[in-house]
């Protein structure tokens, strides 16, 4: 039986970015314009670009791609009057396991992203913007490319936008199936036509980004928030969420709940409330472990059900808000096996540049196979932690760090599950034929 959410919990829903998704034709320019579309652009182009940077700073908007960096500050880092071209690059390479909010946004409300791109480009004085879209996202791509064409035809893109001394070209650039390209410097390398491998920082993209020029890289949700903030103002934006984590956020709920899906609420809602919105746990399932922000964030348990899901609250609980990709697992799911499957993913997606990540994930996958086939040893658990110690913080980018998250957190909270495999209380999950290479 699905739970009916109480009115107090229902009141936490704040559809802003998801609001137009209800309108089937919102991807067409005419419909978008009837729903306040491109109104923010006219308003934004009437003020000085620095005023827009100040507005976004004042709104407290933080990056929606996982790191939560203050967006206005990022824009402010772009050096002005430097006689170099500036670039805006939208990170639309959505692929963090559990995350599914950017693709629907680009599919059902593509002009919102484009309007945000134009305003952000005007603010940082960029005349060229790229939307680096995950390759597999073909449906979002066709809607987005169509929307870009419509925006050109209406004079929102191209030369002298709305009669102003501001010109912008936008290119929708499809990737080719590499999770690592969601990491901003790997994305830039990929966009330049190379293997998507991360760069050493500093220098940061703000000064040496795309083509070694000042570049802002922002997530889809971040940029799509901008037109709303321009229209409603910073105080309105801050009326949602918490003091340090302002605004609405799309929580992607999946797993053992009655109604998985996208729920846009003010930052700081708890998992207990989100599960209630999603109709409760499925019959016969008790919450056991969950990811607050995708598989790269340390697992939390049923004890953390009342943790405020904003940047500070989740950090205080020992994890990371990440992309608010909330994957919910129950007492019928095995944290050891779940971690193994994620490691297979990190092993596959490691770009191979840094030895700790490339080799560490390779060997951890094999250790897990041994444990899950009933041939693990106590020493394996120490080996896993030791391997994590040698990956965490020892690679160019966060992919390796993310890989260790579920390993260390599952060992912290669910060590008994590992011991049950090692001591034979849990029957082997993998067969001996899947043990090739483990020794």
């Amino acid at each position: 039986m699905a739970v009916t959410p109480s009115s107090a919990v229902l009141a936490k829903l704040t559809p802003v970015l998801t609001r137009r998704w209800l309108v089937p034709d919102a991807w067409r320019r005419e419909t978008y314009e009837q729903l306040d579309g491109y109104r923010a652009l006219r308003k934004a182009l009437a003020v000085h670009p620095d005023d827009l940077i100040a507005l976004i700073k004042e709104s407290g908007l933080r990056g929606r791609g996982g790191a939560g960096f203050p967006t206005g500050m990022k824009w402010g880092f772009i050096p002005q009057n430097d006689n170099k071209p500036h670039y805006l690059v939208v990170n639309a390479d959505e692929g963090e396991p559990g995350t599914c909010k950017d693709l629907p946004l680009m599919t059902h409300d593509p002009h919102a992203l484009i309007e945000g791109v134009i305003i952000a480009s005007y603010a940082i004085r960029a005349e060229r913007a790229y939307i680096y879209l995950r390759g597999e996202a073909v449906n979002a791509a066709r809607r987005l490319r169509h929307a870009v064409q419509e925006a050109y035809a209406a004079g929102y893109l191209g030369k002298n936008i709305l009669g102003k001394q501001f010109s912008l070209d936008v290119v929708v650039h499809s990737g080719a199936g590499a999770y690592i390209c969601g990491e901003e410097t790997a994305l830039l390398d990929s966009l330049e036509g190379y293997r998507g491998q991360p760069r050493l920082r500093p220098p940061f993209p703000a000064t040496h980004g795309l083509y070694a020029s000042p570049t802002v890289v922002n997530n889809v949700g971040t940029i799509a928030s901008v037109p709303h903030i321009v229209l409603g103002g910073a105080a309105w934006w801050r009326s949602m969420g918490t003091e340090k984590s302002s605004g609405p956020m799309i929580y992607s709920l999946s797993g053992r709940i009655n109604n998985p899906g996208q729920y846009e609420c003010g930052l700081g809602i708890t998992l207990r409330e989100l599960i209630e919105l999603a109709g409760g746990m499925q019959p016969g399932h008790q919450l056991r472990f969950w990811t607050p922000g995708g598989s790269s964030t340390p697992l939390l348990t049923a004890e953390h059900i009342d943790t405020p899901m904003d940047f500070e609250g989740v950090a205080a609980a020992g994890s990371i808000l990440g992309t608010t990709a909330t994957q919910i697992f129950s007492d019928q799911d095995c944290p050891v096996y779940a971690t193994y499957r994620w490691l297979e993913f990190y092993h596959h997606e490691s770009c191979g540049k840094c030895t700790p990540c490339r080799e560490g994930n390779y060997w951890m996958v094999r250790t897990y196979r041994r444990i899950l086939s009933g041939q693990g040893t106590y020493e394996d658990l120490d080996t896993l932690l030791d391997t994590c110690d040698n990956i965490l913080g020892r690679a160019f980018c966060g992919l390796g760090d993310g890989a260790t998250s579920s390993v260390t957190s599952s060992l912290k909270y669910f060590k008994q599950d590992y011991l049950d495999y090692i001591e034979g209380r849990t029957p082997p999950r993998l067969s001996a034929k899947q043990l090739v290479g483990a020794h």
Binding site: P24, K43, H108, F345
Partner: protein, 253 residues
């Protein structure tokens, strides 16, 4: 010393270096025209940015990135073949062997696996008699297991030429595959009606969808709208705002 043409004529048997012997000279003029359109999207002195779309383009012609496709990209961009091959082999979506008209990708990442994705992959694999990254003998269907496809709220999912088939079961996946074998084009749960892998590769190269009806396909799914529908049904909305709120806050005092 050997000349380049002698090098090209000599068979290489050390695995991947065969990609270094291809040439795009036999590719049609129409493909060159499309390549020029792709190049025009990027700054003239940054043409290498066109490499990923160009690789999608050669895949739209041959169904995979062949040694000749690598040679074609190298020629267009003034790179050597090793530079192009190094990029082509990095990305999962560039296939190194001829593919079928339909690429079936079954998500087996943690959430989909938990909800039954691995079983779907195994059953489809058994039925088709091919494993990961392999193509059926009739050349129609290529099977792969995929990492997270960003649709966990519809899990388990699989895609055909990257269009979503949501909340899949072993039966629904087998029915879809059988329909493809029979020459039918089953309608995806979300996304547009199917085209071939070559045709979708052309879109990946950055060319617009040329089927107006496909553009309108794909209404938002139940899970996508779960939150916003719940709000609507209960009369809940975000705080109202005044769209004329000034961007510049007047200084106090």
């Amino acid at each position: 010393m050997t000349t380049e043409s002698e090098d090209a004529a000599r068979p290489v048997s050390l695995g991947f270096p065969t990609t270094l012997t291809g040439s795009g000279k036999d590719f049609p003029e129409s493909l060159r025209e499309q390549a020029k359109e792709i190049l025009a999207r990027y700054p003239a002195d940054r043409s290498r940015s066109a490499l990923l779309p160009l690789l999608h383009l050669v895949q739209s012609h041959e169904g995979y990135v062949s040694p000749d496709g690598i040679g074609f990209c190298a020629e267009i961009l003034g790179l050597n073949r090793a530079q192009v091959a190094a990029v082509a082999t990095f990305y999962t979506m560039y296939k190194r062997e001829p593919t079928g008209d339909f690429l079936v990708s079954v998500c087996t990442n943690t959430m989909c696996d938990t909800l039954g994705g691995q079983k779907i992959f195994d059953e489809v694999s058994d039925y088709l008699g091919v494993g990961h990254d392999e193509t059926t003998a009739d050349g129609k269907i290529t099977l792969e297991h995929a990492e997270c496809l960003a649709a966990c709220d519809y899990g388990p999912v699989f895609t055909v030429n990257y269009e979503f088939f949501d909340k899949a079961t072993v039966d629904s996946a087998l029915a879809t595959v059988r329909a493809l074998q029979n020459g039918e084009r089953p309608m995806p749960t979300r996304g547009a009606r199917l085209c071939t892998l070559k045709e979708i590769s052309r879109q990946l190269a950055g060319f617009p969808e040329d089927r107006p009806e496909a553009l309108a396909d794909g209404v938002a799914g139940d899970a996508t709208l779960a939150g916003v529908r719940l709000a609507q049904a209960n009369g809940v909305s975000a705080p109202e705002y005044d769209p004329t709120t000034p961007i510049v806050t007047p200084k106090e005092g």
